[in-house]
């Protein structure tokens, strides 16, 4: 699923609050909050590579926007963990086998060696063709 989200200070990605659908509306909410905390869902990147995120790995958090420098809108892909891992597995079979850094035992332990670097769009920080 492709959704619009808020990227804060270049790095952190938050889901729009319910009933807020644009950056302008969100900034009105921030300004109305007058420095108070706003509850938001944050998409974590511990087990995925942006712009693909895992639905189960979002965290409910309270954010104070008074110290924030930039807020931008962008689109991300949100998948269930099962779907994310299935697509990652498929990609490993078609992409990583052509990479010099690929080793047979790397698929152990929850695809950990791949999920840090291999993006579902096929880009990988490590890829180096054999």
């Amino acid at each position: 699923m492709k959704i619009k989200v808020l990227r804060v200070d270049e790095i952190t990605v938050y889901q729009y609050p319910e009933r807020i659908t644009s950056l302008m509306a969100f900034m009105q909410l921030v300004n109305a909050a007058k420095g108070r905390f706003i509850p938001l869902y944050r998409y974590d990147t511990k087990n995925c590579v942006p712009p693909y995120y895992i639905e189960e790995e979002k965290t409910y958090t309270y954010v104070n926007f008074s110290g924030v420098h930039t807020v931008e809108e962008e689109e991300i892909h949100v998948l269930s963990k099962a779907e994310y891992d299935a697509r990652l597995s498929d990609l490993i079979e078609t992409k990583c086998i052509y990479c010099v850094h690929n080793e047979d035992d790397m698929k152990d332990t929850d695809l950990k060696s791949y999920r840090d670097n291999l993006c579902l769009d096929g880009n990988c920080f490590f890829f180096e063709e054999i």
Binding site: I11, T12, R42, K46, D116, N117, F125
Partner: protein
């Protein structure tokens, strides 16, 4: 003084005061070890006994070897005396023309790294950005106090300096505009966490900066554990592609990908190899310096494991170089043939004398690690150095000023070590940060071993 050690199958004798390095066989290694305290006859007797099962170790062979050692000694390549101690004590009269400034253009940061010595960029004070006027005055101060030096260095530092990028750009433009008139040449360095790295910064840094330091701790799990945003989000995914793009466009200009390792990643060589596998070839990794009660603090117990890691790193670097995929490691870059002059090797980094840090308000400190500590305020860019006693203390802060360094074989490589680390560990800039010393010595041993290995391999070819 001779430092003898064995590493990676090599027997190495490092003659401290001549800088000569000898790679020898096991018998000669033992002989050199016995030489200062024993007569040739005693050495011969001991070695014949020890190597009685080796037919090649004969009395004649040992005579020849002992004669070689005596020749090396006579030629000033082994067991040389310390001829530098007297020079070190003339340092109070040395000239201290300014060479470099660390410009704290931003006392604020967009990351919230747990181990940050600068307390998230604020240096235990208020958040602040340096104004153009303050930065301009700092550059003028550098020029005015640099005497006849032509090459001057300016580090754009923070916090995160890119949070004040407009001022950085204007300061570089100003510096370039006065170079010809003042007969100076500025070399700029930028240290960044990469969050704000974009095409404009890349183009600017690759055009203007002699060196760029990119902060990355290695593997994603390691990096993201401590290098987070204020919201707790790891920064690895955001910065790695930016760093890769930046380095690709940088061509052959210098850069460092620099990390910090902590108790959480004692196996830090995995992080260095990770950086290398990401395509970065100029690497540095520093041990965290923090209060001992921090959960990520390194302790004495970690030393054996860290020593092993440095050995693993050296061996892997030799291997990768042979395979045609080399990378450099800052602490292993040792020039045994034409390194720094002896003056530099005794006096060290020049903090508090040739090198000063400037806060966003124009205050002067001996280096960035002292910023915010009122005891180490030296003056300001408007009135100059006012705390001359402190400057004098730093003038005399050298390898020979520290009693604990007296018998250390590594003193001409570390120059007495980092004054800030010594201060934070002992309360005195002339103290010794013993933990750092142990790691430093191991790194030098590894660096020398690598040069021995490469030289012997070249000779074999």
């Amino acid at each position: 003084m001779v430092h003898l050690y064995q590493l990676n199958g090599y027997n190495i004798a490092l003659d401290v005061f001549s800088g000569s390095v000898h790679a020898v066989d096991a018998v000669a290694y033992d002989a050199i070890g016995l030489y200062p305290e024993h007569t040739p006859a005693e050495i011969k007797a001991q070695l014949l006994e020890k190597y009685r099962d080796r037919p090649d170790v004969t009395a004649e062979e040992l005579d020849e070897m002992l004669a070689d050692i005596a020749t090396l000694k006579a030629e000033g390549k082994l067991f040389t005396e310390d001829v530098y101690a007297d020079r070190a004590f003339d340092f109070k009269n040395r000239h201290t023309e300014l060479k470099a400034l660390c410009l704290h253009v931003a006392h604020t940061c967009n990351l919230n790294c747990a181990y940050c010595f600068a307390a998230q960029g604020k240096y235990h004070g208020e958040r602040a950005l340096m104004s153009f006027e303050t930065g301009k005055r700092a550059l003028d101060f550098l020029v005015e106090n640099s005497g006849t030096r032509k090459n001057l260095e300016v580090d754009f530092f923070g916090g995160e300096p890119l949070m004040n990028f407009d001022v950085v750009k204007r300061l570089v433009e100003y510096a370039r505009s006065i170079e010809q008139e003042k007969n100076k040449h500025f070399r700029f360095t930028l240290t960044t966490n990469g969050v704000l790295l974009d095409d404009e910064v890349t183009e600017f840094a690759n055009r203007e900066c002699h060196n760029v330091v990119l902060s990355l701790d290695g593997r994603k799990s390691v990096h993201d554990r401590l290098r987070k945003t204020v919201n707790g989000q790891g920064s690895y995914n955001a910065i790695v592609p930016k760093f890769q793009e930046f380095v690709k466009k940088r061509g052959d200009k210098s850069y460092y990908v620099r990390g910090t390792f902590t108790k959480n990643n004692i196996d830090f060589t995995e992080d260095i190899f990770h950086m290398a596998d990401l395509g970065f070839t100029e690497l540095s990794m520093e041990p965290v310096v923090c209060a001992p009660d921090e959960p990520y603090a390194l302790t004495e117990k970690d030393l054996p494991a860290l020593f092993e890691q440095y050995e693993i790193l050296a061996k892997e670097m030799l291997k990768r170089k042979k395979e045609g995929r080399p990378f450099t490691f800052y602490h292993y870059m040792l020039d045994l043939e034409s390194g720094p002059c002896i003056y530099k090797r005794i006096s060290g980094c020049g903090s508090g004398t040739e090198y000063l840090a400037v806060t966003p308000w124009g205050e002067l400190y001996p280096c960035h690690q002292f910023v915010g500590d009122p005891k180490y305020s030296m003056g300001n860019i408007y009135d100059g150095i006012q705390n001359t006693a402190l400057q004098q203390e730093f003038k005399l802060c050298n390898a020979y000023a520290r009693p604990d360094c007296k018998d250390c074989w590594a003193k001409l490589y570390c120059s007495g070590g980092c004054a800030a680390n010594a201060y934070h560990a002992t309360g005195s800039v002339k103290g010794i940060y013993k933990y750092g010393c142990e790691l430093f010595k191991k790194r030098i041993e590894c660096a020398v071993m690598m040069q021995v290995a490469e030289l012997l391999e070249t000779q074999e070819k």
